[in-house]
């Protein structure tokens, strides 16, 4: 596995950060891949993040899965608890009280979806895969950060691009 280095540049606004991302995209620096670039910002800014390329979100699939699982499990659960699907002791047909069961099923349909949605989001954040502690508290204040993971020989070129686009601060780590 190749050794990786990290470089973080801070910018005053999204305008500069967007131009820098465009420059990075157009550059062909050996040991650098666009998919290893991370934008860090105090607010959500999808227009700027578009420069990073397609990074799809799959949360809704998990929401649907949670809704289906939650509702079907609870419906089966409460139906079994009431023995709804068994024939009556004297041989009559089983009674499945659909309306009251549906109320509870509806609640668990939503609750299941909520649990799966939130769990999926926490996984998608990739907190468990944080590779560097390179972070600046100014990002939560008012600065825009661009973090790049690259091979050590690419760092000098990346620093040049950041400087050219008026980066306020640049920091590095291994």
């Amino acid at each position: 596995m190749k050794k990786k280095s990290y470089i973080l540049a801070l910018f005053a606004d999204f305008h500069e950060a967007t131009k820098t991302l465009a420059a990075l995209r157009e550059s062909s620096i050996p040991g650098f891949r666009m998919r290893d670039v991370t934008l860090k910002s105090p607010i959500d800014h999808p227009e700027c993040a578009e420069e990073l390329g397609s990074r799809p979100v799959y949360i809704q699939i998990f929401s649907l899965l949670g809704a289906v699982l939650g509702s079907s499990l609870i419906f089966l659960g409460i139906s079994s608890a009431q023995a709804n699907f068994l024939r009556q002791p004297r041989g009559f047909f089983p009674i499945v009280p659909i309306p009251p069961n549906m109320v509870i099923t509806y609640e668990l349909f939503i609750l299941g979806s909520v649990f799966f949605t939130i769990t999926a989001c926490l996984i998608m954040w990739r907190i468990h895969r944080v590779k560097t502690n390179l972070y600046d508290v100014q990002i939560s204040l008012d600065k825009i950060g661009i973090l790049v993971e690259a091979e050590p020989q690419a760092i000098a070129r990346l620093r040049e691009i950041f400087t050219l686009h008026h980066a306020l601060e640049i920091s590095e780590s291994d």
Partner: protein, 473 residues
């Protein structure tokens, strides 16, 4: 010809005439952090006055509950036919209060109404604490508190299940789901702000916020997933909120009691819930604005929008109220009609008329700009509206029990005693205490959303000024 051109120019100029700003978009992001984080450090003295007054009320309510627990439900003067009294009326009131957070946060989020951004956080907190308070009344009204788990569906060793066809079991499920989802929604929406708190805190507070911020670093991947998740949660929360109060309404509507057995009850309850919640948001808006010096964020234009929203909902509630009266009046159930007449002319007539005046007439003060921009008047009006909505719940529960199908139920002189009133006051203390604690520990204004709001408005203003027609010849 020249005149026509001049008129056109004037019309274009008027189109670009700036309206009253919801928020000052010149405020810097750093200043937003400073202002909101300051609220976690040094509130005005009124904060402590409210907090300790609430604590005292809560302790008094706690004493009354302990007395009732040790002695029995009889000390609350609850007996047949008045078996619910103020407890269930106040339970509905607190459930209703919880709806406003969902309205302000989720519905307005989906509608892209960005004026909600400075105020939705405390509305969400209000939802959570209202639900927690409502849950207490489920226990309090039982008397035998230790048997509360009878409504919870769990596999006991005797395989004795609750009655799944009972609205009380639906209630337990719905409120449990709503509380869980509301807490998740509140917490999840706070994560970027908790990261800001983490970056600015020291000592044990830093550790506290670091754990809660769950590794948030504001990366593009985090933001994109956060945005989709938050929107999905909002979409899930809206039907859940509607279902909760509809199910609370079925507690009454599926019974055979006169005055309750009506199909308009679920929408009537939902409208009442949104109404009382909005009125409560106005009250808390004014209190927080002063206590935490949030004048730059909780602005008069936002208060105006809240007032207009409250007025609109009050008219929906008024309409549904009249529909309910009409349905009973022109219906075929003579006992229900007699109960309605009893409400308007009997022992509780004063309260019934107060409910109608406070709920349907007082909201018209919200239509006058001069009144709705006057903060002390709005504080009084919002409290009156909530008083009206609390009386509404009392009017739903008590007169029906006092004028049922059988003459033996006609206990027309029943009034709640000091134990019930003490516990009700204690619930207000409990709610206020939790709410004030929340505002001291967590940012009650969403910093990142206000930053977004300021940023987008500033950008919009820039692009608008570039579109402005040139005055040069």
């Amino acid at each position: 010809m020249i005149e026509a051109h001049e008129e056109k120019d004037v019309a274009i100029e008027q189109r670009f005439e700036p309206k009253a700003k919801d928020i000052d978009d010149e405020i810097s992001w750093a200043q937003i952090n400073v202002d909101v984080l300051r609220s976690l450090e040094r509130p005005r003295p009124l904060y402590w006055i409210i907090f300790f007054a609430s604590l005292a009320l809560f302790m008094w309510g706690g004493y009354c509950e302990v007395y009732q627990y040790n002695t029995g439900l009889g000390v609350a003067d609850l007996d047949n036919p008045q078996v619910w009294g103020l407890y269930i009326a106040t339970f509905i009131f607190w459930i209703g209060m919880s709806h406003s957070g969902t309205l302000l946060s989720a519905i307005l989020l989906i509608m892209h109404a960005d004026w909600r951004k400075p105020i939705y956080r405390f509305a969400e907190a209000m939802t959570t604490f209202s639900l927690m308070t409502a849950g207490l009344f489920v226990l309090v009204h039982l008397g035998r508190v230790w048997q509360f788990y009878y409504v919870v569906a769990y596999p006991s060793e005797r395989w004795a299940w609750p009655n799944f066809s009972s609205p009380l079991v639906w209630d337990a499920t719905a409120i449990g789901s709503y509380l869980t989802t509301s807490v998740i929604f509140l917490f999840f929406g706070m994560i970027p702000d908790l990261a800001i708190c983490r970056d600015n805190a020291t000592g044990f507070r830093r550790t506290f916020y670091r754990v809660l911020s769950m590794g948030w670093r504001g990366t593009d991947r985090q933001w994109s997933n956060f945005r989709v998740t938050y929107l999905t949660l909002a979409c899930l929360l809206i039907p859940l909120a509607v279902s909760v109060h509809s199910i609370v309404a079925t507690d009454f509507a599926v019974s055979q009691q006169p005055g309750w057995h009506t199909t308009s009850f679920p929408p009537y309850f939902v409208a009442g819930a949104l109404y009382s919640g909005c009125a409560a948001i106005i009250t808390l808006f004014i209190v927080l604005r002063y206590t935490f010096r949030f004048e730059h964020y909780m602005t008069i234009p936002i208060l105006e929008k809240l007032c207009k929203l409250t007025f609109a909902i009050s008219m929906v509630w008024t309409y549904l109220n009249l529909i309910e009266y009409a349905a009973v009046w022109y219906g075929t159930d003579p006992v229900a009609k007699q109960t309605l007449i009893f409400r308007a002319t009997g022992t509780y007539a004063g309260w019934w008329w107060a409910m109608n005046i406070l709920g349907s007439v007082v909201p018209f003060t919200l239509t006058w700009k001069r009144l709705r921009t006057n903060i002390p008047i709005m504080l009084v009006v919002s409290l009156l509206l909530n008083l009206g909505m609390w009386i509404e719940r009392f009017m739903i529960v008590t007169p029906t029990f006092a004028h049922g199908y059988y003459p033996w139920t006609w206990t027309q002189g029943w009034w709640p005693n000091w134990v019930q009133v003490g516990i009700i006051l204690g619930s207000f203390g409990w709610f206020n205490m939790l709410f004030m604690l929340f505002c001291k520990i967590f940012p009650s204004v969403s910093m990142y959303e206000v930053k977004e709001m300021v940023y987008h408005r500033r950008e919009a203003r820039k692009s608008l000024s570039s579109m402005r027609p040139s005055t040069d010849p």
